[in-house]
Symmetry: C2
Subunit: 697 residues, 2 copies
Amino acid sequence: MGNLETLFSPERVAVIGATESEGAVGRSVMENLLDGYEGDVVPINPNADEVFGLEAHESITDVDGVDFAVVVVPPQIVNTVLEEAGEAGVRDIAVITAGFGESGSEGAAREQEMREIAEEYGINLVGPNCLGVISTSIGMNATFTTKSALEGSISFMSQSGAFISAVLDWSSDHNIGFNDVVSLGNKAVLDEVDFIEHWGDDPSTDVILGYLEDIENGREFIDSAREVTKETPIVVVKSGRTEAGASAASSHTGAIAGSERAYEAGLKQAGVIRAESVQELFDYASILEGQPLPDNDEIAIVTNAGGPGVMSTDAVGDSGLQMASFADETLEALEESMPEEANIFNPVDVLGDAPADRYEQALDIVLEDPNVGSAIVVASPQTIDFRDLAEVIAEKQQEYDAPIAASLMGGETARNAKDIIDEVGVPTYFDPARGVKSLDALREYSEIKTTDYDVATDFDVDRERAREILERTKERETNKLGIEAMDLLDAYGIPTPDGAIVSDKQAAVDAAKEIEGNVVMKIVSPDILHKSDIGGVEVNVPVEEVASTYDDIISRARNYQPDANILGVQVQEMADLDAGTETIVGMNRDPQFGPLVMFGLGGIFVEVLEDATFRVAPVSEGEASEMIDEIDSAPLLRGARGRDPVDEDGVVETIQRISQLVTDFPQILELDINPLVATPDGVEAVDIRATIDHEEL
Amino acid sequence: MGNLETLFSPERVAVIGATESEGAVGRSVMENLLDGYEGDVVPINPNADEVFGLEAHESITDVDGVDFAVVVVPPQIVNTVLEEAGEAGVRDIAVITAGFGESGSEGAAREQEMREIAEEYGINLVGPNCLGVISTSIGMNATFTTKSALEGSISFMSQSGAFISAVLDWSSDHNIGFNDVVSLGNKAVLDEVDFIEHWGDDPSTDVILGYLEDIENGREFIDSAREVTKETPIVVVKSGRTEAGASAASSHTGAIAGSERAYEAGLKQAGVIRAESVQELFDYASILEGQPLPDNDEIAIVTNAGGPGVMSTDAVGDSGLQMASFADETLEALEESMPEEANIFNPVDVLGDAPADRYEQALDIVLEDPNVGSAIVVASPQTIDFRDLAEVIAEKQQEYDAPIAASLMGGETARNAKDIIDEVGVPTYFDPARGVKSLDALREYSEIKTTDYDVATDFDVDRERAREILERTKERETNKLGIEAMDLLDAYGIPTPDGAIVSDKQAAVDAAKEIEGNVVMKIVSPDILHKSDIGGVEVNVPVEEVASTYDDIISRARNYQPDANILGVQVQEMADLDAGTETIVGMNRDPQFGPLVMFGLGGIFVEVLEDATFRVAPVSEGEASEMIDEIDSAPLLRGARGRDPVDEDGVVETIQRISQLVTDFPQILELDINPLVATPDGVEAVDIRATIDHEEL
């Protein structure tokens, strides 16, 4: 999409469908624009001479110099109006009108046409089926909400317009301001990626917030978000999380929600901070907007009471933060300046009779400690004056470069002190756990900001051979990978057991002679799914029995299924399963995120315990390593219970090579290497299943 | 403890240490009592003639008819004063003074003496080191807080006095009232169990809340709470949850915090609703105080917007509630009365232009549906008037017997409507997830209230033989159970493999002949821990090799450790491990809850994946069954991956028999049956380790 600068700072705005009719959306939009917008407002309405005292034009084509148009006409004529606007040179348009993709096939067709018009004219189109756009820096509220936004540096996009109405009503009450607000609607043209890219370059935006029910293009989102979060944090509530929620999402917005596993992997890979609730969304936004990032993960707690100190310590334990270990000088200084009964270890207890200046002494000491990255000040209303304490906190926040949160544990007394610390961006909550969690979001962003995303390795593979193998499957009537499976892995450099697929007895014997030790023999037929059940697999076959076993296997298969297309017998080296650990590397395609690579331990671990982890491909070396770290059963690969640690590098490389394979070939719809046997000396893919999309070939 | 009636409704209260001195605790207590308490206040102070215009007495012994005394004198004279009070017949006393168990050995000795005095005189003693007691129904604030409590039906105990100060300050701002408030302090005499029992019988208490850092006597707590929660819900924040938190708890209050696993099991067994945060504590309390319990687990959502509907549905997915499936008549009625574009399926979307009466129609229909147990009304500020909607909600809550929560998603507009629904106990939160969570607490309590706790089975065991076996270990120098282990299990009816421990070759052969098939032979020595490593275990020994194997094992052991005390060789039936699944049944003693019985799958499952579950003994049949349900690896016992399901009843019975054994013998400090092999035909305890406390024998 083009530059969105003008969308948020137009000098002349047209309202197509402007009216004074009571209850009409076109009236609300006019009223909101006329209330504070610095530029020109141009009403477009063929049936009116003027609207709210402004000359009304019959068509957008009659007006010059319109930067941005808001469309509120009935759905049937929206596309006509859009073409006129395109002709008139308007390049930024918000379509508020509903009745498109969300409302059946006729609407979907209209939305497709809209997309084409937007493309033809290069229109940055917001919506349709949305609430509009707000840009507080120019006083523009181009929506039909009843409340507008306070000025601030949070830019907010939402896939639910009703949620924007709610947030605006609520945020003005909580003194939370916004830079831009966008209602995404059906995302026919502009989507979340366009806005994060715009806000990432926008110096007025300090934090990007999103309420999203789906993400249109997962991989693009990941790549953009990784760039943007180098400078600007992104916090997202992804709604429609649970199965039940997802079904509501798709029935409502027509969005096909991707699976939770894909979003979990994708948002993490994108460097997005995920809020689990609306409360967290704004808690995180406020602290990210207002405070510096911590130098390290250690937090100091300063409190005037034991109980609240314990609560805060619990919250630290639940977070990614660590309780700071104070330096010796810190302890000495605290010992010197605090009363004897005070606890000088973290959490520091300055005692119930502490006035604000004792807090100040303690804060000065702990914030000087290089081990302390952030601090929370917790106070129960005993003898302390919360306003005095708030002054101290505000001062310290300015004096030191560490983020501070507060928990002034009271009602009215706390409210009365809130404005003092609000001004310096220090949040206060009754529950100290909320403050700790907010500081933890700063820690998380600080980690994201400094992440050096490694690029997926480009292994030297035989892509042409892989293509030929996949094309060969087209000739067959099944979409399963069969005889070609091992060759495909071989083309992408993934170790497989020695062996061959043969179609006569002598070839079987010759193949077995090439292999050291006894062999495994398996029927190869796309029509026989459960090979073992019909006696189609024999293990531990000595070379002298290969010929007779060949006959046995073939005749059992024919017996079992006379019409089966039997391609031959696979003669394979015996994998030393006892010496190794069975793992699974798999892939499924997610509608939003594309190829999702899975890793887990074989057998019960993935199948019963669901101990598996996912990444959106392409998967880099670092990500593949993280995948191993993430599974609960990882110790089994690392020498638990007296085993020898397996070749983790081999596993990591296989994950990456599979990632490369499924990225190179979108025709591979799903794939499982099960098991990939990992031993101390390497890995070997013993079996693979894959489904190929013939249409794509 | 005695009846606590008088503690909360005294007619005459003495303040021992009453004073007018600025900043003194004795002054604050006097001021608080004089502000609203209906009864007599008697100041005791040998150095004053009067305090706040009331005649001051030299000693409590000079005054008649005192029901309740508050003690604020220095710690050194507290016990003297207590004896005087005891002599004077005062039976309810709160000791606010600090300087006891929490402050070193001198204080601990004082606290012990205090306990003895209380016992001698039968004093119901609150504290020491506490804030005091509040009873709103008689206007009594016998604490030194700056704020008192509003009247209500929540009774609240807290192990942190500072937290009470904070809650009182906050709650008056949030219109939350209390019946009684108690600061538990060091719990020298009265503890959480005394108060839940008292409030359980108190008709003025609708909900019991607790902030606890530890529980003194876990089993007693479980038994009392189970009784009380038949009538009155108990909601607890257990602080000091994480390792870091627990260390803060013990450094502060001298409490030895039990492990989180023990509290998790114990609170669940007690039927206590556990709040994870202070916010949850009061969210749950408010809704439990104000609303009826749901008839079933299904919830209806009625909203005016899709996005908030999705958020609410997500929250239902995260809870123990289910999305209600509407009856056909409900869908028909909704279809008839709602606009065409409305979504009549759950979540019901009454559309953005819905006025309050459309909500009313929808609520009337869904609340009539017998499938619907509870409802949440979610509204974004579009055209709706929140006050009108609040009126509708309040009316419906009165009309139907179902609990309702609201999410009026706004700021000032929502605050302005809050009082209307507050009055009927309907909470409203900006985040619909909080409302859903609160309704889920009602569902949880409804389940707790109707739980029929089964009594632990009293199996017919040979307790005398077990005692003798345990006593025999006393003669040895190790506290590990050795040669006697299998006998002990046998005495408690737990199946063990056939076999015997023998100390000569011929006996070994004789023993092997008694056993069908090959045998396992293991060295028996309390000094040899890793039997396999030194060649002390031979499996699959045919009877003809038993004699020579006996010699081999003995000589290897002597060779390895010449000074080892070798008791013999165990000759045991081969357990058919392949046909069975290895499980572990174990026990550890928790300082608060006593014997904690563990169950999990053997090998990696408990040791690497920590997939285990716990219950405080005695464990009933129902609880033992639940334990199997709770582990992630349960499917492996139930036929996953083509296995035959094992004899679950045998596992359940073994858990119970172990529970009985460790309850009968506190001398058993810890115990592991590992593995208990479970097959389709039964279970067999193949190996056991136990540690015995010789002191207790």
